[in-house]
């Protein structure tokens, strides 16, 4: 059966970012419909760790967005904290060589000037902060602002709190545009949803949705695996990762990069990341990747060598060529807004993104300058010759 709905804004994507956009748009008084071809949190949101990090970000627009988002996460936690397993545990970045420790402290100095709290932890204090760390590490930096949520729960609870109409199992086949180019809704196999504004919050598939509105946005997938251990009593206090993670995040290679990221969860299992590969949407298990994860984690936490890894899961981080998300109105298609391309930081950056989108939707001045996030900053490549 086909039906036709009308609302103020259609948010495409029922992941973390779509949920945050729906929440802040609804708070701004808009009537919101969320549409997703799958279930809630069925894409990258359901395949991550729930990192809310400032620690891995150099001063710049992404750090500004992270600082805004972490403030908003703390507000959201006051309402939904236990439901979404919010844990303001703090991050601990550890260096594995003296040179890396020097680099880490210099990085932290720059972050501190930008508003990040970053406390160097010398070697003789590391085990007070994180008792089960390997011996002999030269030092680290503690970031009290880093936190964690369970991302699928967070998306689901924020969607519910938004009061938005939720249409799952419906793929948007077309972003409808009027003759003058303005957006007027979306088409799904079960009817159109009419609205003067559409938000592209489909993460890794954001480029495809953009093309369904006839605009270009080069979002690409960067695969990552997470290893899940057997449930343990609390053993690891912080989100702990090695200093080379920061370099990997910014890395340009398509080859496998791994750097250990280790954290406990409210449910008991320890999650071990992080691998990065550019292999398209290939979901097959990579033994070299998960082996490297396990080796990295046991290097930081030797006790993990006696702990069983129960399973692994994979997801696709949405990345744009300059590693910044696309947030804001698209001048090429009036009424189209983008909120995608957050790479591995989407859970953390979601509330800030949602707030900025809501401010843009209601014609207010966004809290942050959206220029670095402009969705039309990537020129469409010259047409390739047909094969």
């Amino acid at each position: 059966m086909s039906e036709s709905l009308t609302c103020d804004v259609v948010v495409v994507g029922a992941g973390m970012t779509g949920a945050a956009c729906a929440l802040y748009a609804a708070r701004a008084g808009l009537d919101v419909t969320v549409v997703d071809r799958g279930p809630v949190a069925g894409g990258t949101t359901g395949a991550g760790e729930g990192n809310l990090l400032v620690s891995d970000k150099a001063p710049g627009p992404e750090l500004d967005l992270a600082l805004l988002s972490l403030r908003l996460w703390a507000e959201l936690a006051a309402l939904h904290g236990p439901d979404v397993e919010y844990d303001a545990k703090g991050g601990l970045v550890v260096a594995e060589t003296p040179e890396a420790y020097d680099g880490l402290r210099a990085f932290a100095d720059a972050q501190r000037a930008a508003g990040v709290t970053a406390e160097p932890v010398p070697a003789d204090r590391l085990h007070d902060v994180e008792p089960r760390l390997a011996p002999g590490l030269p030092g680290g930096v503690r970031y009290p602002q880093d936190a964690q949520v369970m991302p699928a729960l967070a998306a689901a609870h924020l969607l519910r709190a938004s009061g938005a109409r939720l249409l799952t199992g419906r793929e948007v086949t077309r972003v409808l545009r009027a003759r003058d180019g303005a957006v007027r809704g979306v088409r799904t196999p079960r009817g159109d949803v009419h609205a003067p504004a559409v938000v592209n919050a489909v993460g890794t598939w954001g480029g495809e949705l953009a093309s369904r509105a006839d605009v270009f946005l080069p979002v690409m997938p960067r695969r990552g695996f997470v290893l899940v251990t057997e449930p343990l009593p609390p053993r690891i206090r912080h989100k702990v990762y090695a200093a080379d993670y920061v370099a990997d995040v910014a890395g340009e290679t398509a080859d496998l990069l791994t750097s250990p990221v280790v954290e406990g969860t409210a449910a008991g299992p320890v999650l071990v990341g992080a691998s990065r590969e550019r292999v398209g949407f290939d979901r097959s298990l990579s033994l070299p990747a998960v082996r490297a994860l396990a080796a990295g984690a046991t290097r930081l936490f030797p006790f993990l060598s006696d702990v069983r890894a129960l399973r692994t899961y994979a997801g696709f981080r949405p990345y744009l060529p300059d590693h910044l998300p696309a947030i804001g109105p698209d001048r090429r298609a009036p009424g189209l807004f983008h909120a995608c391309g957050h790479e591995g930081a989407g859970i953390g950056l979601a509330p800030g993104t949602g707030l900025l989108i809501a401010q843009a939707l209601t014609g207010r001045t966004p809290e942050l300058d959206l220029a670095p996030f402009r969705p039309d900053r990537f020129p469409r490549p010259a047409k390739e010759a047909a094969p």
Binding site: E230, P231, L232, P233, P234, G268, L310
Partner: protein
């Protein structure tokens, strides 16, 4: 087709569950041995201490975790029982806090 109930040539052996002897047949998983002995629960949940046993039975759901020979978090539905196995009810994570 041969079923464990045929008995026949393969000999039963003994394992223990929470200290009491339980008869096991070759080829059976820990879960099958416990079920055959009338035991349907061998773990309590981490929150609330609720009883758990086999749910999916094919190694997917991790509901049937049990401690075998002092190693917690083994999937009872996948681990074959061996002579002399010491099987114990797993409380919570099975690790000491």
């Amino acid at each position: 087709m041969r079923t464990p109930e045929d008995g026949g040539t393969e000999r039963a052996f003994e394992v223990t569950f929470d200290g009491r002897p339980v008869e096991a047949l070759p080829g059976r998983t820990v879960a099958a041995v416990l079920w055959a002995a009338g035991v349907t629960s061998w773990r309590t949940t981490r929150d609330g201490g609720r009883p758990r046993g086999v749910f999916c039975g094919i190694g997917v759901c991790f509901d049937c975790l049990v401690t075998v020979n002092d190693r917690p978090n083994q999937r009872a539905c996948l681990v074959p029982a061996r002579p002399g196995d010491v099987i114990r009810t797993q409380e919570g994570t099975g690790h000491e806090n």
